[in-house]
Symmetry: C2
Subunit: 199 residues, 2 copies
């Protein structure tokens, strides 16, 4: 399978992390996250959003959106529960990640650590950090009572939320305020086959 | 089942629309989308994001995020394909909706038609409209070649994207520029059991 990838993107890292844990080899095609001018040419016809990650299966069929790719790869493995309600809970956390976590924590990190022009976003940063801290507080409340997000075992929900939470400090977030989140990060990182975002 | 609902929310409408098409009765509990002060008390313990829609099943278990609720309710029905790749394509569009469509088209509509203070958002509106038009253009490219988003039949992907696209003009978007999107809206609205957002 071919993965249109960015080494710095937490969304792409989620896919690489699950693939590593499942022992699935990926051919990586690196895309620029600053200069996106080649995206219509490269990703047109593969992903309506023209974003990475985009996965191309062995038979040439393509799939976009990290959450959809995670669910596709995890089908039939312990990373996606068979139980209908637990599977829906996994999806709940995947949507929470894309709506609450990624647009705040990942974007703050992009501005501060990736864009090369952090000063350009100074006026917008406080709102992102406030919303990002609300997201971390919601995770903290849940993880104070659960070892993993769903079903007390590691699923693609954990992999998806780990993707950007583990680099949240690059977005200026102090994870020390969230001990249950920090303990959960360590549990996810201790899973067999774990790789780091730059590993 | 009990649905914590807002009559003006397209996210809640998606759930009501699928339930109507599946003949599932819902007990609606109306929540305020402007004054959200009661949300921790009412939705705490039910939905980590403290948002509507939140569905409570007959046995008391709860589920948040419109995309997760749609997939849960559609399981085993023609609205969620059995085929692994098609199901992943449905998820791709559900994530696209929550990342590209909802934060732009729904938010522009909220500012202009729901908030009561449209002037407060005047400076931020052009960016939302530009991103919303990009989203509609991506849908137009796909729908110019397909009757429905996935598998040439109506799935929860269509229901999810219909939710806010059908009221996009309330957000200042001219749908006349997107004839394939308009034809698809009419196809979705012609499905058996269809209800309007205020119906």
């Amino acid at each position: 399978m071919r993965l249109y990838n960015s080494a710095v993107s937490g969304n792409c890292y989620k896919v690489r992390l699950l693939a590593a844990q499942l022992g699935l080899p990926l051919e990586l095609v690196e895309m620029d996250v600053l200069d996106r001018s080649d995206r219509p040419e490269v990703l047109g016809g593969l992903n309506p959003a023209l974003r990475v990650p985009t996965l191309v299966l062995d038979d040439g069929r393509a799939l976009g959106e990290s959450g959809a790719i995670l669910c596709y790869l995890a089908e039939g493995t312990p990373f996606l529960p068979d139980d209908r309600y637990q599977r829906a809970q996994v999806l709940q956390w995947l949507f929470f990640e894309q709506y609450d976590l990624e647009p705040n924590i990942a974007v703050a990190r992009f501005w501060l650590a990736v864009s090369g022009t952090p000063e350009r976003w100074a006026a917008e940063l406080p709102a992102k950090q406030e919303a990002g801290y609300r997201t971390l507080a919601a995770m903290e409340r849940h993880l104070a009572e659960h070892a993993f997000l769903v079903g007390e075992r590691c699923t693609v929900a954990d992999i998806a939320l780990y993707g950007y939470t583990n680099v949240a400090e690059e977005g200026g977030f102090e994870l020390g305020r969230f001990p249950a989140v920090e303990a959960w990060l360590a549990r996810v990182a201790a899973q067999p086959g774990h790789i780091a975002i730059d590993g």
